[in-house]
């Protein structure tokens, strides 16, 4: 079976104009521009199978969004080659647009003041879809994503979770074979995040869509994707199945306890105390050696607890560990 995405030695170097100093610096810059070269992607290669769900992760500035932009056709690379569903994205951007759906978590494609239905109607015209087939598809997706009752509401008056579900519906209306999701759960509460992850996973399983996702949230990766590509400083530092990554790097949880006492003393095997502010105790739990419930129970046993939260370590930390583990 032909891969949905093939990337070979893809590179991108941004050129930024250097500002000159002095009274006439700006004017000189206009006639004799001087540039600083900023390498963003330093040669990445990978394949993605049709129907596969892949996360591209990395710390801020690692190059994951740049990679996604090149694969979706809105950025030309400096070198290398890529094929997405048989198209060279930056040369056949418009043709590719019919076959991909894109969601930018921080950018809306809906009109905030008009009912979502009106935005969808315009998208039908943009993607040149027949009216009856479109109405059927919208009905199906609206039902599946739980937005049927929201179609007459303007997105500006929806909650972030509702809006994001509408954004995903908008990206799926033309029946794309590949979905690019850039931070689809950013800013959402826990319930909304869980709903979005379920929807994406089920949608991909139902229609066989390939999903390429970037996120800083480790749960997005764990719960949606079956494979992770880690990029750091423009290079792939790890490419493996999520299960393997989870076993190696996400077997830790952070338990944060806010207490009346300046600090709590929780002595257990597999639990390490991290430096923190007074009245806050941050415990790193190795889930292979200690159960999170037992750690929380031990903390609560001290009494005078204001708040307890359990989180995954930040993805930056995971990436840092991965990177450190790969160094000789």
């Amino acid at each position: 079976m032909k891969p949905a995405v093939t990337v070979q030695d893809l590179r991108k170097t941004y050129r930024q104009p250097r500002r000159r100093t002095g009274a006439f610096g700006g004017l000189r810059g206009l006639f004799q521009p001087d540039y600083t070269e900023l390498p963003a992607i330093a040669g990445v290669s990978f394949d993605i199978r049709a129907g596969e769900r892949v996360a591209i992760i990395g710390p801020n500035g690692a190059g994951k969004s740049t990679t996604l932009k090149m694969l979706s056709g809105v950025l030309e690379p400096t070198g290398g080659a890529a094929q997405v569903l048989g198209f060279t994205p930056w040369r056949e951007r418009r043709a590719l647009a019919y076959r991909i759906g894109v969601v930018f978590g921080q950018r809306s494609q809906l009109w905030p003041e008009l009912p979502a239905r009106d935005s969808f109607a315009l998208l039908r015209r943009i993607y040149d879809q027949p009216a009856d087939a479109f109405a059927r598809r919208l009905g199906e997706l609206a039902e599946r994503f739980g937005v049927a009752g929201l179609l007459d509401q303007p997105p500006g008056r929806m909650s972030l979770g509702q809006r994001m579900r509408c954004e995903i519906v908008a990206s799926l209306l033309h029946g794309p074979a590949l979905l690019f999701l850039d931070e689809p759960t950013i800013g959402l509460d826990v319930t909304a995040k869980a709903a979005i992850r379920d929807f994406i996973r089920e949608q991909s399983a139902r229609e066989g869509q390939t999903v390429v996702l970037t996120s800083h949230d480790a749960r997005d990766i764990e719960l949606v994707c079956e494979r992770v590509i880690v990029i750091n400083a423009g290079r792939i530092v790890l490419d493996e199945a999520t299960e393997g990554l989870r076993r190696r790097f996400l077997a830790r949880k952070l338990v944060t306890v806010r207490s009346v006492a300046p600090a709590l003393d929780v002595e257990m095997a597999g639990v390490t105390r991290r430096p923190s502010e007074p009245h806050t105790t941050v415990l790193e739990v190795d889930t292979a050696r200690a159960r999170v419930e037992a750690v929380v129970a031990a903390a609560l046993a001290h009494g005078g607890i204001d708040d307890v939260s359990v989180e995954d370590p930040p993805m930056e930390e995971v990436v840092h560990e991965i990177y450190a583990a790969l160094e000789p």
């Binding site: 030309e76 009106d118 943009i126 033309h174």
Partner: protein, 289 residues
């Protein structure tokens, strides 16, 4: 039928086989959809629309009264002596109708270019610039429609009713003027690709509209080179000709004004299309932000 990747592939194969004329028609259908969205959106934000109508009425009452006083003085050897007896209220009514109605599309262009939102739009199979202009045209049409009854009422109440033919000529030329204004604003907005902030370009354009377009006074009052310059500029076709049509204009003059507008719309549309293409190419090469 459920849409699957396989059926998408077939849809795309069918699209790829289309002749370019059918693709152009698809572009026009999408633009019509954007126009409709802009039109509906303007009416959905009806308090802003009511405010705009009120602003138009205030502007017109102040400027109409001002030109009425100047015209009434009839001082020999001055500009006042060359004004129509009723002043320039109807003229300003037309030029302000255009200027107050046109959506400030340059700000949308600037915002999308500077914020990087443009990238999300480039992921669609239709021209980003065309859709943005079409949506702004829809908003402009809604505003013109909302202001029109107020403009007609003020014209009737002022006692300066020029007759139905003059009103029809002025209205048709005002539509052309609005299209020209929209294209000029779009061009200003597209400058964001190179200069980031469009305010300086917009200020220059506004001054040119004021002076060469005859926003507050007809360019027919100018003399010598200034008159020739104003007459040959797109600003005359944008504001001066529609305003003049309500004061005095023959059908022949109307046809010439319409032809001038058509020519300028064609020229500006080509320049806007080229600037949009160059700006998008720059973004694809260098990234959005």
């Amino acid at each position: 039928m459920r849409s699957t990747p396989h059926s998408s592939l077939e849809t795309w194969a069918a699209k790829a086989a289309r002749p370019w004329t059918r693709e152009a028609l698809a572009d026009l259908r999408a633009a019509a959809g954007a126009f409709r969205l802009g039109f509906t959106g303007a009416f959905a934000a009806w308090p802003a629309l009511v405010g705009r109508v009120a602003f138009y009425c205030v502007c017109l009452m102040v400027l109409g009264a001002f030109w009425g006083k100047v015209g009434a003085s009839r001082l020999p050897g001055t500009l006042a002596a060359r004004l129509p007896p009723g002043g320039l209220g109807p003229y300003v009514g037309v030029t302000e109708w255009i200027v107050i109605s046109v959506v400030t599309v340059q700000l949308r262009f600037e915002d999308e270019v500077r914020s990087g939102a443009l990238e999300a739009r480039l992921l669609r199979p239709r021209s980003w610039g065309l859709l943005l202009i079409a949506e702004a045209a829809g908003g402009t049409a809604a505003r013109m429609l909302a202001i029109a009854p107020a403009a007609l009422a003020l014209l009737v109440m002022s006692g300066l009713w020029p007759g139905p033919q003059a009103v029809v000529r002025a209205a048709l030329l005002a539509l052309g003027g609005a299209v020209l204004t929209l294209l000029l604003y779009a061009l200003v907005g597209l400058s964001a690709f190179w200069v980031r902030r469009v305010l300086p370009a917009m200020l220059i354009t506004q001054k040119l509209m004021f002076l060469l377009g005859g926003l507050f006074a007809p360019i027919s009052l100018y003399r010598g080179w200034l008159h020739a310059l104003a007459f040959a500029s797109p600003f005359a076709a944008q504001l001066g000709f529609p305003g003049q049509a309500i004061l005095s204009m023959s059908w022949g003059g109307f046809a010439r004004a319409l032809a001038a507008q058509g020519a300028w719309v064609s020229v500006l549309a080509v320049i806007v299309a080229l600037a949009c293409r160059a700006g998008v190419a720059k973004t694809l090469r260098e990234g959005a932000s």
